[in-house]
Symmetry: C2
Subunit: 355 residues, 2 copies
């Protein structure tokens, strides 16, 4: 499906909020830029797109988003290099995945070009919001939700696609202690776990609150059948290093096809690091921790890039992880952020110039 | 948790839309009454409730409902009897279940009284919208969604609770052909399937669209492990009659605790109908269809009350169901609607007078 993207009209704000923002003390995703990109779907097609001031949406209380959670989203970032140039990281992967998610959630796919043209139009207008501070970036949130109305439990007939941006600091601060979950589950076989669908996230909040009461920052989800295999962490894919072998679970209909995950795998393979993409039993991780061969665990995702895990809880035991000098987590974090911030060669063509 | 419900202030519409509505040709849930009930949660507590004109909601694009599907809802109805009196059906069950759903979705529970007082205040104002036509009723939709903002994948700090109403005709028209699903799944063990959470519904739309292309109106979900057991139909619980025994699956963390379901079970037991609440294998239903002992299947839920199933598809076969003269579906539909519309005794105290 392809449409001609007309020139995207821009309604600019009268006065930028940029001077009010303290770029040296950015939280994650809580201050928003001056503008947003917006395109609506109705009468069977995506309508004229536009860039407008960031501001409230007006929705009928019967809009299906409120009732049936019909929504999908993406997470991506824009980076500023030391020369002031701005870059994206593998944006075509986000575009592709948003359509995969949309299809599973009965949301009309975006026509070719709409995602990238919208993104570029918005970032041209809000270019000055891309932080230059080390470790900060402009977090970009494309999302589509059901704005059509009715209490009938069926797909909406109208949707709204928005791209909004928030200059952001780091997602997690410091190391992360995780709980390997055995009671609650994130996804079903044949379900929506591989999609970035809104409801997948809300379902994790309560079990994560319970884990937080026991001192954990994140939950590592296991398969819902027997809680035998490590799957993902909801906002991150999970990597395990046993000896010098780097391991992660294969993607499936329960596991998100993470862009940071696949970038790490590609880097590792190119560097000759032994990689195993296979189902990882909780028992083997526990065993490896006990016999000293478990050297690292880390999460990987756009928001946090790479998050080293300092310990994991399993049943009533807490397993501390060592801090190896030759940390894969630190290595891949550096390699990926060096590419993102244009501090290193880009052997795979992942960087996308915003000019 | 309990709060004193202050008198609920009412802002009335200037001019009712009631005269515009064709009550003899009502669809389901697509025309809304003049008013809605609204209460917001912020700063750690539910604020002053109010009844206001039904109208657009204004929300920040970063409201977490758009991103993380954090929402729960209920479905219930108000009925008008031949004397013009109005009734609810087991509303305390909806109140109880809404809080169970809220808890699972990390949404603050409603304090005692807020749900019932809000409902009564709204229905007092919009009382004339309760249809008197046979088979029609006022569909009532209480829902709570995350209105707090931020791109961080964590529970919102603000929520909006709304009750909106739609005078409605029947949900399904005619008999229903269903597909027993073996590829897609609705819920995971340890997931959110027992909650009326928005995201549970969006996940069903695509597989239901696929089934519709093959001529089915609904999907019967099976367990996600081996697709061996019949679970529920998403908007309905499922009953099977083999011989004279009425069977339905036990509730679990994958299956909604339906109010129509439990009402049918209670009626059946009081009438001496043999009832089995147990896991039902797809294979035994297929076998019973082949040997002629499968006499009925029907769905049960608030929207449709009881929906007779005329046929089911399994793998590539279509199994037609007989139309027994002593239909349980017809019997329970009549017994329940007779209670709802105050046409019969109410042995269990299910009717709730609105005056």
């Amino acid at each position: 499906m392809s449409i001609t993207i007309n020139e995207i009209p821009v309604k600019r704000v009268d006065k930028s909020r940029l001077p009010e923002v303290d770029f040296d003390n950015l939280a994650f995703g809580s201050v928003f830029t001056d503008h947003m990109f917006r395109c609506t779907y109705r009468e069977g097609r995506w309508q004229q797109a536009e860039v407008v001031p960031y501001g409230p949406l007006t929705l009928d209380p019967a809009s299906k988003i409120f009732h049936y959670g019909q929504s999908v989203f993406e997470g991506m970032k824009a980076y500023r290099d030391s020369d002031g140039k701005a870059w994206l990281f593998r944006p075509e992967e986000n575009q592709r995945r948003l359509n995969i998610s949309a299809s599973r959630m009965a949301i009309p796919e975006l026509p070719d070009g709409l995602f990238m043209e919208g993104l570029k139009a918005l970032l041209e207008v809000d270019r000055d919001w891309i932080p230059g501070q080390s470790g900060s970036s402009l977090y970009i949130r494309p999302f589509i939700f059901a704005s059509g109305t009715g209490f009938h439990a069926s797909p909406a007939d109208a949707f709204t696609f928005i791209i909004a941006c928030a200059p952001s600091g780091s997602y997690f601060s410091g190391k992360v202690s995780v709980k390997i979950e055995e009671a609650y589950s994130r996804a079903a076989d044949g379900g929506t776990g591989f999609a970035k669908a809104g409801g997948n996230y809300a379902g994790q909040f309560y079990p994560t609150q319970l884990a937080a009461r026991d001192g954990f920052q994140q939950v590592i989800w296991t398969d819902d059948h027997r809680h035998e295999y490590i799957e993902e962490a909801g906002a991150m894919n999970i990597f395990v290093r046993i000896g010098d072998t780097l391991m992660t679970a294969p993607t499936s209909d329960r596991i998100l096809d993470g862009i940071t995950r696949k970038s790490i795998l590609q880097l590792a393979e190119s560097e000759g690091i032994p990689v195993e993409v296979r189902k990882i039993r909780v028992a083997e991780v526990v065993e490896a921790s006990k016999n000293g061969s478990l050297r690292e665990m880390f999460g990987a995702g756009t928001a946090a890039v790479v998050s080293p895990i300092s310990s994991f809880g399993y049943r009533d035991e807490l397993f501390e992880l060592p801090e190896p000098e030759d940390s894969y987590a630190a290595h891949f974090k550096k390699r990926i952020t060096d590419i993102q911030y244009n501090r290193a060669e880009d052997p795979f063509g992942w960087r996308y110039p915003l000019g």
